[in-house]
Subunit: 410 residues, 2 copies
């Protein structure tokens, strides 16, 4: 029997995957599991997009251009222009979700063993794409106590060596919800220009910024035309994760013509998803006002609720729909398993993502979890209630366990 | 300005891409271009699939399971079972078209520098996926004079070395339309077992076999449970190339659990395409009878027409919807450019794919072209008329050119 590849062996599993059997067991035991572990919003997809699918009247579902429908790219360029970003349709390749855009960007820009600096904690699948492209991710740690703000410029300088070829940020961030301010972007701009690096920015949560703060895209940074590459997606913006439509955007013509070769090899992005994505460009402003207001009140319920629990710390995120929280436990992973496996409160339990998988450095995030506030407010309130009680109960269980062990040890 | 990657630089362009500007010029000059160069059928997508899209009534276009809808995988398993293939739903991962299935298979099974033997001419994008995965393609040449039959087993043995990890076939073949017979598959079975290799088979044209011949899947070969991996797709079967739905199918559990990690990293295959693909499983048999009859008569018009032109040789393909033809010219590429650029017959010209790009060995296929018979019969007849006249005219043009050069040379 032939062996699988080293790369396949090394590919990381999803950080929440090992909890799935415990969640299934909880459901089987008759409990309702409140899923705070994944970013699948319950928000409705805009009606214009759903209607476009219903009205699809072609007789053949054909390939599109490898870069996506011309009309869609032109429409998307206008969307960026409406955000004061200088983007032409030729600066856009439509991809199979943001995922493919990241992979294309890595394969286009980096050779195997090249290093890419990423503030950690970061979206766990970056590890997978880096492994596929042979790229080494070099984490630069951000801390809960600083609300995950970007470290000072000196910390970056320490990490940069002759193999460093780029920096990747997610803004606003998954898993932290951190929203970069103009000063931080200016810091990145300086580093990137000084070292001639690529700057990748995953801006798929662009629409979701709170407390009156604006989103600043790296495409607005002066002099970065040849350095800046953004990864975008319709998944979260229009709550249509299943459309699998993303985009790679850059003014660097070499990057775009090279990425086009990767795009041509896989023929075209999904036609039906593009129909939905293009129609979604006509989503009324009211939709975003409502969705943002909804996420904002969910955020406040979740974050204020978490901070009201003794021993829990949760910085208030400025964007996206995730929050990181430190729990008064030794191992968040054990706790996440226990709460599914051995605990319920009034017939409910909670699934969370242990944060360790979002860190590349060892032993970080062991007491942290990521929570997504993509569920309706009542569920979030219930989740807080479950967590509050679980965190009271958990130490007693541990004590009981350790006494039991003591007895056996005698 | 930072440089792009070596891989990006080395990525091949589509073999027909350089002809695109000439086709555009032909259209601008007022000519109609008959596109025999691409496999985008004009056949209608089954009504059940189109209707399923129109009836899509979910309010949120959600992610699916990373391996695809469970119901779709179960339905697809039944489809294979109806072909007498022992496939369970757990042996299937739904992918972004056949393209992603090939890439997943390569990344799962091979380390960089591992060698994969492929009968040439082969589907040009295999080069791209191999490059992305770092795999070396080792071509084993098949010849037009043999109608592209598989070479004898000794030729394979000569190619096999300590780096050889697999064999990849396309059955029926793109670009040759070659349909493997049972003996050939038995030969492959023996080699694969003797050398403990993976056997990949791209079977996306499975439905299109002609002249009463049956398709033989590698999944039916005894003792290959851990070696056989098939790549499949709905693109051609149901004429829905734009759905971007394919599948990776194998009984090898290590392969499937590893490929699943690649699948999880990109989250999920397109939801709307899956809706269409799942519905298409209920396509009535009549659809395939009609479509096959249509392709068969198109094949005969094209192939018989080509062979009726002096100096043209075109073996009759047993499957798919491509034919390879040798033309009485020194350079098929120059001829393909000339016919777009400088020739038209009654307002029509023809776009073909020069075959050189389908060979990995240098200097092969220089006089060959690939033609797709995916257009209606009248267009194919017109294309033959254009070609017949063009091939009469072309030598005169060359003579005139060379005289002109002679004059200037004096």
């Amino acid at each position: 029997m032939p062996f699988i590849s080293k790369k396949g062996f090394a590919m990381p599993e999803s950080p929440i995957r090992k909890l799935v059997p415990y969640a299934e067991a909880a459901i089987e035991a008759g409990n309702e599991v409140i899923h705070l572990n994944i970013g699948q919003p319950d928000i409705e997809t805009p009606e214009v997009a759903l209607q476009a699918i219903k009205n699809y009247d072609k007789k053949v579902i054909e390939y599109s251009h490898s870069a996506g429908f011309l009309s869609y790219r032109k429409g998307l360029a206008k969307y960026y222009q409406s955000k004061d970003l200088d983007v032409d349709y030729q600066d856009i390749i439509i991809t199979n979700g943001g995922s493919e855009a990241i992979l294309f960007a890595m394969m286009t820009c980096f050779n195997p063993e090249d290093e890419l600096i990423v503030p950690e904690p970061f979206y766990a699948n970056y590890n997978a794409f880096a492994l596929e492209a042979g790229v080494i991710l070099r984490p630069i740690t951000t801390y809960l106590k600083d609300s995950y703000a970007l470290p000072p410029i000196e910390d970056f300088r320490e990490l940069i060596n002759e193999r460093t070829r780029g920096i990747l940020i997610c803004n606003p961030g998954n898993p932290t919800g951190y929203l970069y301010n103009e000063e931080e972007l200016e810091t990145l701009r300086k580093i990137v220009l000084a070292q001639d690096l690529f700057l990748f920015s995953d801006e798929v949560y662009r629409e979701f910024c709170y407390d009156g703060r604006d989103h600043h895209s790296i495409l607005s940074l002066e002099g970065l035309e040849n350095h800046a590459i953004i990864v975008d997606s319709v998944s979260k913006r229009y709550s249509m994760c299943g459309a699998r439509i993303g985009a790679l955007v850059s003014k660097n013509k070499d990057v775009m013509s090279t990425a086009m070769k990767f795009a041509q090899a896989r023929l075209s992005p999904p036609t039906l998803g593009q129909v939905a994505g293009e129609a979604a460009l006509n989503t009324p402003d009211k939709y975003f006002e409502d969705v943002k207001a909804e996420y904002l009140s969910r955020r406040d319920i979740l974050v204020d609720g978490l901070n009201s629990i003794q021993g829990v710390t949760c910085p208030k995120p400025g964007g996206a729909f995730y929050a990181m929280a430190e729990l008064p436990v030794d191992s968040a992973e054990n706790f996440c398993q226990w709460i599914l496996d051995s605990y319920s409160y009034k017939g409910h339990t909670v699934m969370m993502a242990p944060a360790e998988g979002f860190y590349a450095s060892p032993d970080l995030g062991t007491r942290e979890v990521r929570l997504a506030y993509v569920l309706e407010k009542d569920k979030l309130k219930k989740a807080i209630e479950v967590l509050r009680n679980a965190l009271e109960e958990y130490p007693k269980t541990l004590e009981a366990q350790s006494s039991a062990v003591d007895v056996r040890a005698i």
